[in-house]
């Protein structure tokens, strides 16, 4: 035990892997900028033009136009509320069946997961434009798009929460003779309910933002008059719509985040 301490020799770290990764990532960024035709000079050239346009939008917005945008704005919020509500209602049972610790049968869970992945990978805008083609112009098409999108989002987050619950509480319920609905009600729901509500609010926040632009493809709400005014080059009104939408979205976002913090 005594005597001079033995010198410890550890092998030199190998940086080759790390350096290769840095090189690879740099190549990817530069490559994709080149591929996308990113040209700094052009951006600088356009900056003056863009500045003039921004000035027309935000220096003297057309405040008198405000009453006219109240209804479309309300419609946007309503669309998000309805979209989130139905999305969440559909998401709950789906999440339960997609969770592999509740339903052990992969023939049920796996197809559901594929469907969920598909619904989340299609942007709400794209879905909305398809539904506008199917159901016609108006808020209904937007709502359907939002329902599907929210459904995919909340289902996915919730089934992941279900898979992360404490299995001991489930086991204790099984030990008293509980069947599947009993386990769901007394061991799973109490554990995931706060998270589920939080995801629903999160979905609502995303939907308010999505709903604001959905009108661009004719799916109702504030986006629709935004698009009209832009087409008529009424930049003072476009500016007003942007300012007011920004504040409405901001307020909803803040309120919803505050509620979510209380939940979990």
């Amino acid at each position: 035990m005594s005597g001079p301490a033995e010198r410890i020799v550890v092998p030199k770290p190998n940086h080759l892997r790390r350096n290769l990764i840095i090189l690879g990532v740099t190549a990817l960024i530069v490559g994709s900028a080149w591929f996308a035709g990113f040209d700094l000079g052009r951006i600088l050239l356009n900056l003056r033009k863009g500045g003039r346009l921004l000035g027309r939008m935000f220096l003297r917005p057309d405040w008198a136009y405000t009453p006219r945008i109240v209804d479309p704005l309300l419609e946007t919020v309503k669309m998000s509320v309805v979209g989130t509500f139905w999305g969440a209602i559909l998401a709950f049972p789906t999440a339960v069946f997609a969770a592999n610790n509740f339903i052990k049968n992969p023939w049920i869970a796996q197809p559901l997961r594929v469907i969920l992945n598909v619904t989340r990978s299609i942007p709400a805008m794209v879905m909305a434009s398809v539904f506008v083609a199917v159901f016609g112009i108006g808020a209904f098409s937007g709502v359907v798009a939002l329902v599907i999108f929210t459904f995919g989002l909340i289902s996915k987050l919730t089934f992941e929460s279900i898979e992360a619950i404490d299995p001991g509480q489930v086991e204790a319920l099984q030990a008293v003779g509980a069947n599947k609905p009993n386990v769901l009600r007394y061991a799973i729901v109490p554990q995931i309910l706060p998270q589920f509500l939080s995801y629903t609010l999160y979905g609502f926040e995303i939907n308010v933002r999505a709903a604001a632009v959905l009108g661009y493809v004719g799916a109702g709400g504030i986006g629709q008059i935004f698009e009209q005014n832009l087409a008529w080059r009424n930049f003072d009104r476009v500016g007003l719509i942007i300012i007011i939408s920004f504040f409405v979205v901001l307020v909803i976002d803040l309120a919803s985040s505050a509620m979510r913090r209380k939940l979990v």
């Binding site: 404490d166 204790a172 030990a175 008293v176």
Partner: protein, 260 residues
Amino acid sequence: MIQFTNVSKTYPNGVQALKGVNLSIDKGEFVAILGLSGAGKSTLLRLINQLIDTTEGEVTVNGVAVNRATGKTLRNVRRQIGMIFQGFNIVKRMSVLSNVLSGRVAYNPTWRTVLGLFPEEDKQIAYRALKRVDILEKVHTRASELSGGQQQRVAIARALAQEPLVMLADEPVASLDPVTTIQVMNYLKKINREDGITTVANLHHVDLALKYATRVVGIRAGTIVYDKQMKDIDKDNFLHEMEQVYGRRIHSDEVLGDEE
């Protein structure tokens, strides 16, 4: 009451946790299961209520072959077997009352329990259960606000609400301090004695086994290597006998001592 006949359990990963176990437990016994970590104690307990399935042999509880029971039969057997765990496993985000009432789910139609509509009778059973472990005053408290010892008492109350014939306890006091340990063990003993509930408890302390059990069963590497009624146990020689179970002698300074 509980009968193991040539029971073996092999887990899907190939671990053979029990090998040819024969064990017969009578009504009203308080059996302490001792053994090293990994010896197969939890496996033995979980076979009794079939939280895990039997690989070979037969397990019967009150005459019912549980290893073959499914669906309704299994539900009816399980509701007569209370179980408490080292980690308590009560649902922290529910009230104490809901937790104890959940011990009644298998006695009620599913639609009623899902709506939370338990009959007044069941509520009375729940209150009585809470009263027996002296925690009735916490009936409307959220379970997450209780201490470990209190949570374990709620777990006992949930098991009691099942009006069980058998009580299984998997290291019920392993996460409790010595004083609370004695308290919880006393409740288990009281219930065992007053209601004649057959109790099987995995314990990590030989002196708790000596103090509370009427019979000690030792498991080593999946086989029963020791099985004696308390009245046949020579207390002075007990630590020496435990060598067969633990593989080496337990020294007197390794036991808990008297905590009261």
